[in-house]
C-alpha cells in the first residue's frame, strides 16, 4: 500500500539524514519506527506526506507517486494520510469540535470552511469519532482546557476525520504518563484494526512499541538497520540500533557504580 524506494534526504549540503531507505507497508499493518534521537525518524514520516521534500527516491501511496507531485496535487493526497503529533498540535484556541472538523479542510473550499458551513455528513462523522475516543462531552470545550491524554485523543479524532488510508504518528506518547501512553497506543491500534488502516508510528519507548505494533523498523544514522517482528528484537539488535548499553533492568547498586565512574 505504501512503498518507499531508495529515499534519501539531506538539508542543503549537510550530511544525509536519510540514506537509501526502502520498505513496503502492506494494508492494515502497524509499523513501529524506532531509533535514537537524530536517526531521521521524524524526517522520514514527514517526507511521506511531504511536509518535508525528499532529496531523492520515490514514495508511492497505492499507485500515486507522492514524491513527484506539485503542491496542489500533494494537498489532495494529504487528505488520505492522517497525522498525529507528539505535542498534540491542536489549534489551542479553537473548540474540540472545530479541531476535529479541521480534518475535513482538504475536502472543502475556502469559503465553506471560512463560514464554517460543514456538510451534515462531516458533522455526524465528527460526533461519531468524538464518541469513539470518549470525548463526546467535551465537544464545545476549548482545546487548551483538556489534559494531555484528552488532547491526544482529539488529535486522533482529527486524523480520523480525514477518512485516511494511512496514519503517520510522530511520538504519540512522548509527553504522556505511562498509563495514558498505553491507553493512547491501544486506541491507535484498535482504530487501525477496525478500519484496516496502515500506520507508521515513531516511538522511543521500545517495550511499548513491542506490545502494540506488528513490525518494527530500526533506524540508525539514516539507514534501516533492523526490519522484523517485535519478538525478533533481541539485545544484539537493540545495540545495533542504539549503541552499547546494558539493556537489563537497572539495579540500584549498578546506578551508584556508574555515577562514581562518571
Amino acid at each position: 500500500m505504501l512503498r518507499i524506494k531508495h529515499l534519501k534526504k539531506r538539508y542543503k549540503a549537510g550530511p544525509w539524514v536519510l540514506n537509501d531507505i526502502s520498505f513496503d507497508v502492506p494494508k492494515g499493518e502497524i509499523v513501529g519506527l524506532i531509533g535514537p534521537s537524530g536517526a531521521g525518524k521524524s524526517t522520514l514520516i514527514r517526507c511521506i506526506n511531504r511536509l518535508i521534500d525528499p532529496t531523492e527516491g520515490d514514495i508511492y501511496l497505492d499507485d500515486v507517486c507522492l514524491s513527484g507531485l506539485s503542491s496542489s496535487q500533494i494537498r489532495e493526497q494529504r487528505r488520505h494520510i492522517g497525522m498525529i503529533f507528539q505535542e498534540y498540535a491542536l489549534v489551542e484556541r479553537l473548540s474540540v469540535m472545530e479541531n476535529v472538523l479541521s480534518g475535513r479542510l482538504g475536502y472543502l473550499s475556502f469559503w465553506r470552511s471560512f463560514l464554517r458551513r460543514y456538510p451534515q455528513q462531516d458533522i455526524d462523522n465528527a460526533f461519531e469519532y468524538l464518541e469513539r475516543v470518549s470525548l463526546i462531552d467535551h465537544a464545545n470545550k476549548r482545546a487548551d482546557e483538556l489534559s494531555g491524554g484528552q488532547r491526544q485523543r482529539v488529535g486522533i479524532a482529527r486524523a480520523l476525520a480525514q477518512d485516511p488510508r494511512l496514519l503517520l504518528v510522530d511520538e504519540p506518547t512522548a509527553s504522556l504518563d505511562p498509563k495514558t501512553s498505553r491507553q493512547i497506543m491501544r486506541l491507535i491500534q484498535s482504530i487501525c484494526r477496525e478500519k484496516g488502516l496502515s500506520a507508521i508510528i515513531n516511538i522511543h519507548d521500545v517495550p511499548l512499541a513491542m506490545q502494540f505494533v506488528d513490525r518494527i523498523i530500526g533506524l540508525q544514522g539514516g539507514e534501516v538497520v533492523f526490519d522484523g517482528k517485535p519478538d525478533e528484537l533481541t539485545e544484539d539488535v537493540l545495540t545495533r540500533i542504539y549503541g552499547d548499553e546494558d539493556w537489563n533492568p537497572v539495579k540500584p547498586e549498578d546506578d551508584q557504580d556508574s555515577e562514581e565512574e562518571v
Binding site: 494529504r78 479541521s102 475556502f110
Partner: protein, 262 residues
C-alpha cells in the same frame, strides 16, 4: 583559595571598557555645552507659559463650542474610518511580511512597503497629502490609514512569525490550502493580540488626528491651531482636555476589551 570574577563577555579588555566610558562622558559634556540656551528668551516665555497654564485651568468650552464639537466630530470620524481601513489593509501586508508563510519576493515587497510607511512621520505624510488633495479630512484619513498599515502590518507579521509552528504543520498535513491554514491555524493564534493592537492604534490615530490637523489635514487639530494662534488659551485648554478625556476613554475601553477576548 581560588578567586572568581564574572567574566565580561561584551568588552573583555579592561582598558577598552575604561576608554569607552571616558569617551561617552566627554561626549555627554560636549553635547550639553553645545546647546545654546537664551536665558532672556526663556524668561520671557515663562510669562506666556503661565498664561497657557491658566487657560488650561480655566477652560472655556463655550466660546468656540460649535468649532470644537465639529472638530472633535471630524477627528473621531477620521479616526474610525482610517483605523478600519488600516486594519483591513494591514492584514494582507502583515501576512505577506511574515517570513514563515510567504514566498521571498512577496515577503520583500511587503516588508519594504511597511518599512517605508513606518519611516515617514505622520506629519510629513500629511503635508504631502494635503498638497496633493487639498485641505480637509480626506488627506487626514489617507495619512492615518497609511500609518496604520505600517504599524499594524509590522506587528502582525512579527506575531505570525512567532506562532506555534506545530499547529500550522498539523493543519497543513490535513491537506488544507494556504488560505485555510491562515484562517484555521494562524488566525486563532494571533487574533487576541491583533484586536488589542487595533484598539491601541485607534487611540494613537485619535491623538495623531489632533496633530496632523495643524498642517491642514482636518479634525480638531485645525481648531486647536486657530485658538493658539489667536492667543485664546482657554479654548485651547478646553480642546486639550477633551482630547485627554477621549484618549483615556479609549485606553480604558481597549484594556477591557483585551481582557475580554484573550
Amino acid at each position: 583559595m581560588r578567586s572568581w570574577q564574572r567574566p565580561h563577555y561584551l568588552v573583555p579588555d579592561k582598558r577598552w571598557r575604561l576608554a569607552l566610558l571616558v569617551v561617552f562622558i566627554l561626549y555627554l559634556f560636549v553635547g550639553i555645552g553645545s546647546l545654546e540656551v537664551n536665558w532672556m528668551r526663556v524668561y520671557d516665555g515663562l510669562d506666556r507659559g503661565v498664561r497657557f497654564l491658566e487657560g488650561f485651568l480655566n477652560p472655556n468650552f463655550t466660546r468656540r463650542a460649535s468649532d470644537i464639537y465639529a472638530g472633535i466630530f471630524e477627528s473621531l470620524t477620521m479616526t474610525v474610518t482610517s483605523t478600519v481601513a488600516g486594519i483591513l489593509l494591514s492584514i494582507p501586508f502583515g501576512l505577506g511580511a511574515a517570513r514563515n508563510i510567504s514566498p521571498k519576493p512577496i515577503y520583500l515587497f511587503c516588508r519594504s512597503f511597511i518599512a517605508l510607511s513606518r519611516s515617514m512621520q505622520e506629519i510629513i505624510v500629511a503635508i504631502f497629502l494635503v498638497a496633493l488633495f487639498g485641505f480637509g479630512a480626506f488627506a487626514g484619513f489617507l495619512t492615518l490609514t497609511y500609518a496604520t498599515i505600517g504599524f499594524l502590518g509590522k506587528l502582525l507579521a512579527e506575531e505570525i512569525e512567532e506562532i506555534d509552528r506545530k499547529q500550522l504543520e498539523a493543519i497543513a498535513s490535513t491537506g488544507a490550502s494556504w488560505c485555510q491554514c491562515v484562517h484555521v491555524a494562524i488566525w486563532p493564534q494571533v487574533m487576541p493580540r491583533m484586536i488589542g493592537l487595533s484598539f491601541y492604534r485607534f487611540d494613537i490615530n485619535f491623538r495623531e488626528s489632533a496633530v496632523i490637523g495643524i498642517v491642514g489635514a482636518g479634525g480638531i487639530g485645525a481648531t486647536l491651531n486657530t485658538s493658539i494662534d489667536r492667543y485664546e488659551y482657554d479654548s485651547a485648554g478646553a480642546i486639550l482636555i477633551l482630547i485627554i478625556l477621549i484618549v483615556l476613554a479609549c485606553e480604558y475601553l481597549s484594556g477591557w476589551i483585551r481582557k475580554w477576548v484573550s
